[in-house]
Amino acid sequence: MNFLALIGRVFLGFLGAVGRLTRFAAVSVSHMLRPPYYPRQILRQFLDIGYFSLPVVALTAIFSGMVLALQSHSGFSRFQAEGAVAMVVVLSITRELGPVLAGLMVAGRIGASMAAEIGTMRVTEQVDALTTLSTNPFKYLVAPRLLAGLLMMPLLVVVADILGVFGGYIIAIGKLGFNSNSYLANTWDVMEPLDVVTGLVKAAVFGFLIALMGCYNGYHSKGGAQGVGTATTNAVVSASILILVANYFVTEIFFAH
């Protein structure tokens, strides 16, 4: 096969996939903004993402904060700069690790379950059944999930930020011999509102992307159990990659100057 033709075909396929995803996102957002709304569905998704993801996100954040304190202390002690531990912990957690780790954990938990649920509904004709019952699947299935992803992820990241910093604090005080008051004062002095705001903006973007990839892959799954499995895998992998890509661009928007 002609090598150039192969590259061209792959590139056109990629553009086609981007186009389909963009169109899906645009249609979904337009349905998110227009009534009718389904409060029960929205509430269910809020609980699923915001409440039931709490343990996973909390554990991830607290242990990440603890590891950060240990590692930064071990590294900075070589330069007699142990005082920077509080700064490293709070900036790393609020700007990067809080939203990114929470995003990746929620992508694994929620992105997968969205793709599996909508995918199963697709292959068992439940999505078609919605249409025949005069209910738009975008409004009933997709819009509540996107809304929940967009609004609940920032709340999860607030929790992740607090627990991540708390994890660092526990290690700094309990193991590394820092003074509690000076550690907390250091943390407050270093932290700027922009650090937290950036993390929350990232969280909203990640939440939207996780829900979008879960819904998109589930909605287009076909073939039965194997198709649903593929959709689930694709949802998690694509959401995880998009989180890391979007993380760079949001960081660049806020901190490149």
Binding site: E125, Q126, A129, T132, L133, S134
Partner: protein, 256 residues
């Protein structure tokens, strides 16, 4: 015939290279019960999905009560689907909702009925298909195949639709349950005075339900006539199909 309830003209639908509907013309009168027969993959389910606007034909015209479906806006399709109830082959009940909410789904979501009234409607409709109030609170996964079909039938008729589609209503059921479902379909359709299209391979079902039969083969309607005439259709394809013979003009693409 007065204005047909559903009218199809020269409808073509293909998936890639595979032609599924190849110029289908069909009129279905108000209150008529039409059964579409044909082998697996002959395009029967696609025909119904095109009428509902779930699939869009490449060309041709489909109208419901004079409203064009092909290329219609989402609002028009929602209005058309509001007239339609459907029993899916696998029932397609919503796993995340209890039985009663499945049955009353159309009333709650499309007609804005309050949940207490919707529950009463669901229980009354379940009673019509021979299910008790106990079943209303169960989840779809707790039901047998036959019960799921009955709940699916209750959901299809709960909002008193003008048109009802039945997609292989007796497939996978034992003969007795199949006959129970057939009787329920006939009684529900008669009671509502609805126009019905049923897709089936099951000739016993077709003979019980149909006023008229249409046979689809390779995307074309090769015979349409009253059920009373099906045994003397004079069409070799129809004869082979209704008698379930391996020999005849219809050949299966099997590798020897």
């Amino acid at each position: 015939m007065s204005q047909p309830k559903i009218r199809l003209r020269d409808v073509h639908k293909r998936f890639g290279e595979k032609v599924v509907l190849d110029g289908v013309d069909l009129d279905i009168a108000p209150g008529e019960s039409l059964v579409v027969i044909g082998g697996s993959g002959s395009g029967k389910s696609v025909l119904i999905k095109c009428i509902q606007g779930i699939l869009r034909p490449e060309s041709g015209s489909i109208s419901v009560d004079g409203d064009e479906v092909v290329g219609a806006s989402a609002r028009t399709l929602e209005a058309v689907n509001a007239k339609i109830g459907m029993l899916f082959q696998g029932a397609a009940l919503f796993d995340s909702l209890p039985v009663w909410e499945n049955v009353a789904f159309g009333a709650i979501q499309s007609q804005g009925m309050n949940r207490a009234a919707a529950y009463d409607l669901a229980v009354a409709t379940l009673a019509k298909v021979g299910l008790t109030e106990d079943v209303a609170k169960l989840w779809p996964a707790e039901l047998s195949g036959g019960m799921q079909k009955r709940v699916g039938l209750a959901r299809a008729v709960a909002t008193a639709p003008e048109i009802i589609f039945f997609d292989e209503p007796t497939t996978g059921l034992d003969p007795i349950m199949a006959d129970v479902i057939n009787d329920l379909i006939v009684s529900c359709v008669k009671e509502l005075g609805a126009t019905a299209i049923t897709i089936t391979h099951d000739m016993a079902s077709a003979r019980k339900i149909a006023d008229r039969v249409a046979m689809l083969y390779k995307g074309r309607l090769i015979w349409v006539g009253p059920i009373a005439d099906i045994d003397k259709s004079g069409n070799d394809f129809v004869d082979q199909f209704i008698h379930g013979r391996a020999d005849g003009p219809i050949t299966m693409d099997l590798r020897k």
